[in-house]
């Protein structure tokens, strides 16, 4: 091939969405995360979202076996993995077919023409070859025989089997994308060096293919444009890209260290929560005890036991598992012991849509127990702040002696974003109510005057032997009591204790305008999509629109009513049939709440939100 420099133009962009799609075996997750890591290190703000098939080894080339990874990078603040795609890399016909609708008309698609065989087209249920039948005319299709070019690039590397050769074609694609967006290959080459430490031939091979893709793009007339996305303005500091589930796990590690306690996790695997278990199972060096239990009930049961014995105890699950934990959670509430339950929500009901996102466990978290059984409910709203809210859940449970449910969801749990690393030293203090020595005339259910929290007397402490249980107990001694007035008193105290948490949580903030025509309300994992939509609306010149996003749900922030009163209209946006709005209606009877709901297992799209907001503003 002769190297001819063509007139390729450069264009500066604020933000770009790239999606990599291919077979489960094509390494799309790795390719995507390399692109996002490299971009983050270059200084872009980034957000990513994976989309795996639910089958573990789906048949090659099939539509349901397509694995995707979307990366949104920007010189501006990036709050979502992006709706529409600027560049699609499709490694086979199935990848093209399942992702085409996301590509903005007129934008780019890179395909591996070698994969567009008769057989693969059939598997993707194409009647004719889309590369030939004109159906892609409105896109800029860049056809590359990637598999052959990869083989060609590797013909001189010794010790490679056929499989390793074809497997590395994803790096050819990555090389091309790096050239298109002016990205350095350095980070990825370093990554090869670490990953294949013991297989130098693979370091050589992957580097060669990455370079080949890069140079191919450079010399190719097919690619008319290259783009630059300048670094974003972000607070200075040390960063890393973090996934929501990892951030959750790390928040607990930090909290345990700060509180001076050991961390105990009792859990049963379930999508999309298992990664928290996987992550914490790694950290035995910090004294983390993780028990993969026989079921969800044993997961929470063991956590209750560990809490009784003085550990920071947590249990992690998703909707179906939370249902199983209900009775035991009621016990923990009754015992007034610290315990964090994480529910990484997924599409329900029943088994529902295990790999898709939804916010439909809110009412289960609030009320899914027998009896009057309030607990603290909080929700994380971005992949990175899963760290903060896991930490906050631990702090609240240890200082208020009541279980906390932390809600996240599949979207933020699997999504990743830059995290400005928080050293444990900068985190707020956590003061567990553990008592290590007998006091005179101590009673198990005597309470702190301000928080109403009781003391945490753990087995092994001389002189504090006592019994707790699920039966109603006397307000002071904790002995079983059937006295009617005592039961009513205890019921009120347990409710009041949760209400008083209001005094220890931040007030509700509004982003954009803090008074005016429309208040957009969201909670939990929808923050990024709501923020992006309101921002776009604001940029189009609309005024008097604010966003109030809730992380604290039970209790609500103290100033909630005041915030609501400053707007003429309120719209509550949720990925369910209207659960949070029903709580708001109950608490703020008399106010009108509009709602926007979506129950498709998918996050909100930018345009549907803006459309709804405009309607309400009209």
């Amino acid at each position: 091939m002769t190297t001819v420099k063509t007139k390729q133009s450069h264009q500066a962009l604020e933000a770009v969405v790239v999606r990599f799609a291919g077979d489960s075996g094509d390494g799309m997750q790795l390719t995507g995360s390399q692109f996002s890591d490299t971009s983050a290190m270059f200084g872009n703000d980034v957000a990513t979202f994976p989309n795996y098939p639910s089958e573990i080894r789906a048949p090659q080339g099939s539509l349901y076996g397509v694995s995707g990874f979307q990366v949104h990078i920007g010189s501006v603040e990036i709050s979502t993995p992006g709706d529409n795609v600027d560049l699609l890399v499709a490694m086979n016909p199935a990848g093209l077919k399942t992702n085409l609708s996301a590509v903005k008309p007129g934008h780019g698609i890179i395909v591996d023409t070698d994969a567009f065989t008769h057989k693969n087209l059939q598997k993707a249920q194409y009647e004719s070859n889309p590369l030939e039948d004109g159906s892609l005319d409105e896109y800029q299709v860049i056809e590359v025989s990637m598999t052959s070019l990869t083989k060609e690039a590797l013909k001189d590397v010794e010790g490679l089997d056929n499989k390793s050769i074809t497997r590395s074609k994803n790096m050819f694609a990555l090389g091309m994308v790096y050239w298109m967006y002016h990205r350095s290959r350095e980070h990825t080459i370093d990554f090869f060096k670490k990953k294949f430490k013991k297989k130098p031939e693979l370091i050589e091979a992957n580097t060669k293919v990455l370079n080949a893709g890069f140079y191919f793009a450079e010399t190719l007339e097919l690619i008319p444009n290259s783009y630059t996305v300048a670094p974003a303005k972000m607070p200075s500091g040390t960063y890393r890209i973090i996934m929501g589930n990892t951030a959750t796990a790390w928040g607990f590690l930090a909290a345990a260290e700060k509180a001076g306690l050991e961390l105990f996790l009792g859990s049963y695997p379930i999508t999309p929560a298992s990664d928290i278990l996987h992550e914490l199972a790694k950290h035995k060096h910090f004294g983390v005890k993780s028990l993969q239990a026989e079921d969800e009930i044993a997961g929470i049961g063991s956590a209750i036991g560990a809490s009784f014995a003085g550990d920071l105890a947590i249990t992690t699950t998703s909707g179906p598992g939370l249902a199983l934990k209900g009775e035991a959670l009621g016990l923990a509430m009754m015992l007034e012991l610290p315990l964090v339950v994480v529910d990484v929500q997924r599409g329900g009901p029943s088994t529902g849509l295990p790999t898709k996102t939804e916010q439909s466990d809110l009412l289960q978290a609030m009320y899914g127990r027998n009896g009057e059984s309030p607990v603290i409910v909080i929700a994380a709203s971005t992949p990175a702040n899963c760290f903060n809210f896991a930490y906050e859940a631990s702090k609240l449970t240890l200082e208020h002696m009541t279980p906390v449910i932390l809600l996240t969801d599949g979207y933020i749990a699997n999504g990743s974003a830059p995290w400005k690393i928080r050293s444990v030293a900068e985190m707020p203090d956590i003061k567990p109510r553990i008592i290590r020595e007998a006091k005179n005339s101590w009673h198990p259910y005597e309470r702190d005057e301000d928080t109403l929290a009781r003391d945490w007397a753990v087995p092994g402490t001389y002189g504090l032997e006592h019994r707790v249980g699920g039966l109603e107990k006397d307000k002071l001694s904790g002995q079983v009591s059937y006295v009617p007035e005592n039961h009513e008193h205890m019921t009120q105290v347990r409710a009041e204790k949760i209400e008083r948490v209001q005094n220890y949580i931040p007030e509700l903030e509004t982003v954009f305008d803090d008074e005016g025509d429309l208040l957009v309300i969201g909670w939990g994992g929808t923050y990024g999509t709501l923020y992006a939509a309101v921002k776009e609306l604001k940029q189009s010149g609309v005024s008097g629109v604010g966003l109030a996003h809730f992380n604290y749900i039970n209790p609500l922030p103290k100033n909630t009513e005041a915030v609501l009163s400053r707007f003429k209209k309120i719209v509550v946006c949720e990925l369910n049939n209207g659960q949070f709005v029903s709580i708001l209606r109950m608490k703020f009877n008399g106010k009108t709440f509009h709602q926007f709901n979506k129950v498709q297992g998918l996050p909100f799209g930018n345009s549907e939100l803006i459309k709804k907001f405009k309607e309400l503003l009209a």
Partner: protein
């Protein structure tokens, strides 16, 4: 477990709560046997924890002046596992009933036995649901008439020992509910055993299932119908100590000493420490004689030992001591 410098008597373990079981219930016997066993263990009172589920039997922790939790139906094994993992120095006891352990809590029960945490389980088997006033349980016999089986139970029962050993129980003992001395001794041995110990108490419920075990436990027949096994001793029973057990092919057989030239040397000698549970299962299933005492006590590595070993290994190979080491490790980058 640290040893106590203080010397306790059974009174030190009695709480100030009034005991509320029905008069004549064997639960009283078990309570007293436990209060007598604990001072013999040399364990500090504050290191003892009782975790129960729900049932008449599960009221037990309220009556013990130790740490305790009366939890929810069937879940005590899971909760106790958490207690033990959080603090392996504690002496942890599960108190459970036949319904609590083998109906609603069956899953936790078998998994605790399989994992082999150093926890002692006292199973109050009265072959009935006591607290809910008399429905059949997973150990009720076929034909047993109860409130929920007015025409006779048609569900074949579990044999707790058989189920437990099938779930890899390393320690299984059975005692009559009316033999407090033997019971105290079995509790002491169970507590000393490292690993999950299961003690099945044949507990008479005079209200809803009176006399369920009378044919084995009545004073008049006890010696003739029960074989109390002891490790290393020949299997002899009978008022006259003239009966014994031998193995005939794949079956246990009762023989009479002195008849057909049978002497003590011909009898099976009890080996509780056998890893192979075949013989223990035969003893568990035997109806004549009913075998009591420590049937199985096979020493094995405990879950806590495995966990501690893994933790040491991981610690040795890790550079992380503080969470900051983890957070700032690997792929980080600076924004200026």
């Amino acid at each position: 477990m640290e040893t106590a410098e203080r010397k306790y008597t059974f009174k030190d373990f009695s709480s100030d709560q009034e005991v509320r079981w029905c008069p004549g219930c064997d639960d009283y016997v078990i309570l007293r046997a436990m209060q007598k066993a604990l001072p013999e263990l040399g364990v500090k009172k504050e290191d003892v924890v009782f975790i129960s589920g729900i049932g008449c039997s599960s009221r037990f922790p309220y009556y013990m002046d130790t740490y305790g939790m009366h939890s929810i139906h069937g879940r005590a094994p899971a909760i106790a596992s958490g207690v033990k993992l959080a603090n392996p120095d504690l002496s942890v006891w599960v108190i459970t009933g036949d319904g609590d352990a083998m109906a609603i809590g069956g899953n936790h029960f078998i998994h605790l036995l399989r994992r082999n945490l150093d926890i002692n389980i006292v199973l109050f088997n009265n072959e009935i649901y006591g607290l809910t006033k008399g429905q059949f349980s997973p150990t009720s016999t076929v034909g047993q008439k109860t409130k929920s089986s007015p025409y006779g139970n048609i569900q074949p029962p579990f044999q707790p020992g058989e189920l437990a050993i099938g779930a890899q129980a390393r320690f299984f003992a059975r005692v009559g509910g009316n033999t407090p001395k033997e019971m105290t001794e079995v509790f002491i041995q169970a507590a000393k055993f490292k690993g999950t110990s299961l003690i099945e108490v044949l507990q008479n419920c005079p209200i809803f299932n009176n006399g369920a075990f009378a044919k084995y436990t009545d004073k008049a027949v006890r010696a003739d119908k029960q074989l109390f096994v002891e490790h290393g001793k020949p299997m002899i029973f009978g008022k006259e100590r003239d009966k014994g057990l031998v193995l005939n092919g794949l079956k246990l057989e009762v023989v009479t000493l002195g008849e057909n030239g049978v002497s003590e040397e011909d009898l099976l000698v009890h080996d509780a420490e056998l890893e192979d549970p075949t013989l223990h299962q035969m003893l568990v299933r035997s109806e004549y004689p009913l075998v009591t005492g420590i049937i199985r006590g096979f020493p094995d590595v405990t879950f806590e030992e495995r966990a501690a070993h893994k933790k040491e290994q991981v610690k040795k190979d890790s550079n992380f001591t503080k969470t900051d080491d983890l957070f700032f490790s690997g792929e980080t980058y600076e924004v200026h």
